[in-house]
Symmetry: C2
Subunit: 359 residues, 2 copies
């Protein structure tokens, strides 16, 4: 049987804890579905930077780039910073260097997990933000100019990346429509009423949309979307957007469904992909076994599904679906992590999910 190589970068803080918990859950899953997963643990992040002077060595980058997929914990640490005051975030370098333009961030209310909104329809939230992850305002990372009196950053949007982002979003909406048995909708989130770059983006989306007559297509200003994500998040499906907007809206989305502990993500390009929880390293609870591993476990499910799409075989898609279902079942049966007021720490949560595999 084929073996797939997974580069595992646990990173800093709770990154290491949620990664270990996820690997523990993957073990029975891989056995049951006959998946051949070979892990290579690699070091990168803020503490790596402190100890070695580089956040991610070229050797580590090469190994990660050669793997079939990359599973990442979380990186960064408040007290460890680059010379210009910004954070050590090699996960951003991976996005840029591997051209992972589609930051896929799904939000779903898990059974039993409290949602933020009072409206009961909030339990029906099932949307995906697709955050463009290689340009937009983040094009300017490491490129900002600062004088004594002024600082400037550049927001860049290119036709090529926007076309790819649009096609990715429409393809995703189509796949989701099949699974959910209803028509998909792509709603571009921009600020085309004020900025030419976003009018440009909107135009490109409209061109691509023409090739997907089976998918509904709209556009929304980012401020209005921030409002609507509070008022009627259940009304949305696939929401592609610029990098900075996606960063903001995806934390908002996480807040709706229980917080960052429930927010998986995948940074996907044409050839590579990184899977990681949307949360950070949580210095306040690091090392205490309290971190909720759900976001990382769900990210691993996204990884298996993506590998299936890349030809790894149906077993990977089945395993992904079973892993999602096991997480749902664990929470439906009463699993309560500390971030939602419960007492089940990292290991207990992983155990609860693992136990529900193969039932």
């Amino acid at each position: 049987s084929n073996t797939l190589s997974i580069a595992v970068l646990p990173g800093d803080g709770i990154g290491t804890e949620v990664t270990a918990a996820t690997l523990a859950v993957l073990e029975p899953l891989a056995k049951r579905h006959g998946l051949g997963l070979a892990y290579e643990q690699l070091r990168a992040g803020a503490f790596c930077y402190r100890d070695t002077g580089t956040a991610m060595s070229e050797e580590t980058f090469d190994k990660a780039a050669k793997a079939d997929a990359i599973l990442l914990g979380a990186m960064g640490w408040p007290e460890i910073r680059a010379a210009d005051g910004t954070e050590i975030a090699p996960q951003l370098d991976l996005r840029f260097r591997l051209n992972l333009y589609a930051g896929v961030r799904p939000f779903r209310a898990l059974p039993g997990v409290p949602v933020a909104l009072a409206d009961p329809r909030a339990r029906d939230i099932d949307l995906v933000i697709v955050r463009e992850s290689t340009e937009g305002l983040f094009f300017s990372r490491d490129r900002g100019t600062v004088t004594h009196d002024m600082a400037e950053e550049t927001l860049r949007i290119t036709r090529g990346t926007t076309e790819r982002l649009a096609r990715f979003s429409f393809d995703l909406a189509r796949r989701r429509a099949e699974r959910r048995g209803r028509k998909g909708t792509v709603t571009l989130v921009d600020k085309a009423n004020v900025f030419r770059a976003f009018a440009f983006m909107r135009g490109i989306f409209a061109e691509v949309a023409a090739g997907y007559p089976d998918v509904a297509h709209g556009a929304h200003y980012v401020d209005a979307m921030a409002l609507d994500l509070v008022r009627k998040p259940w009304a949305f499906d696939v929401l592609p957007t610029e990098n900075m907007f996606g960063d903001i809206l995806s934390d908002l989305g996480a807040g709706l469904v229980g917080g960052m502990g429930f927010a998986p993500s995948a940074d996907i390009g044409d050839t590579h992909a990184v899977f990681q929880p949307a949360h950070g390293t949580a210095p306040d609870i690091a090392g205490q076994g309290l971190a909720n591993p759900t976001a990382t476990i769900l990210s691993a499910a996204m990884m298996l599904d993506w590998l299936a799409g890349k030809g790894a075989g149906q077993a990977y898609a089945d395993a992904a679906a079973e892993l999602d279902a096991a997480v749902d079942a664990a929470f439906a049966d009463g699993l309560r992590t500390p971030d939602i007021g419960g007492r089940d720490g990292t290991a207990a949560a992983a155990r609860a999910v693992a136990e529900r595999i193969g039932r």
Copy 2:
């Protein structure tokens, strides 16, 4: 007695309706408090652009600039656009040309108005976003460069404006602390972990903060703030931020307290100020008498309070407080506008507030 001149720019769509309703409420209030307010109605906006070729004539701008304060309805219309596809938004020109750097957007849960969050503490929401309104990403408005393959915009942050924004925010927190009887807190919202321009902004805020030992001071990444505004908005006080971030977060804030119909705003500079609801022209309900005028009425209260601070006298501050209280009382007594599922249209809402003046 002194007469103050108010330039009134009703604008487009429901802008004209909520402005008329607000002037109707100001009438008994002015009488009762002996305010000398002289209104000059001026035309500007999308329909003005369609009919005359200019969204706001120089003559109108001059008159508005000479007035003691500017009261604005809402401007813009989907089908009427500038040549580059962006919206007709002379309210943005006023912000830039009059140097109205502080976009003050308070959020408070009014008695009886449903809030979005399930947590009962959401009724204690009482925060103010101070959106820098003359630079940031909006510096790039009309300046974006677009070729066939690429579009770019520039985000600019200057020391001078940031210092003024910081002082404004700390002064505001100090005034609010006096009124509320507890220590004020200024939390800058930025993205200093990734962008030098925001590290620059954070540094300037820290310098200014040193002069306000009585006010607590912190900083928060914008993505984390989007999450926290969903998880614990009651924990925040004054939130200064960059222009684009403030645009997004203030719609989110409105969503928390009942929607845009409850979101007043003031665009304030060192010499001029514009007061307007945060909502748009709402083409879908325009002309039907359904618009909620609350945001505009509360904006007018902010105007009276600002005029008091500019030396108009205590009567203006008293009138502002009474107007706020009348709005609260009207909703506490059962006023329900259509945007929150009620049947009280624009005129009925204005009447309900006006009736509670002088009680």
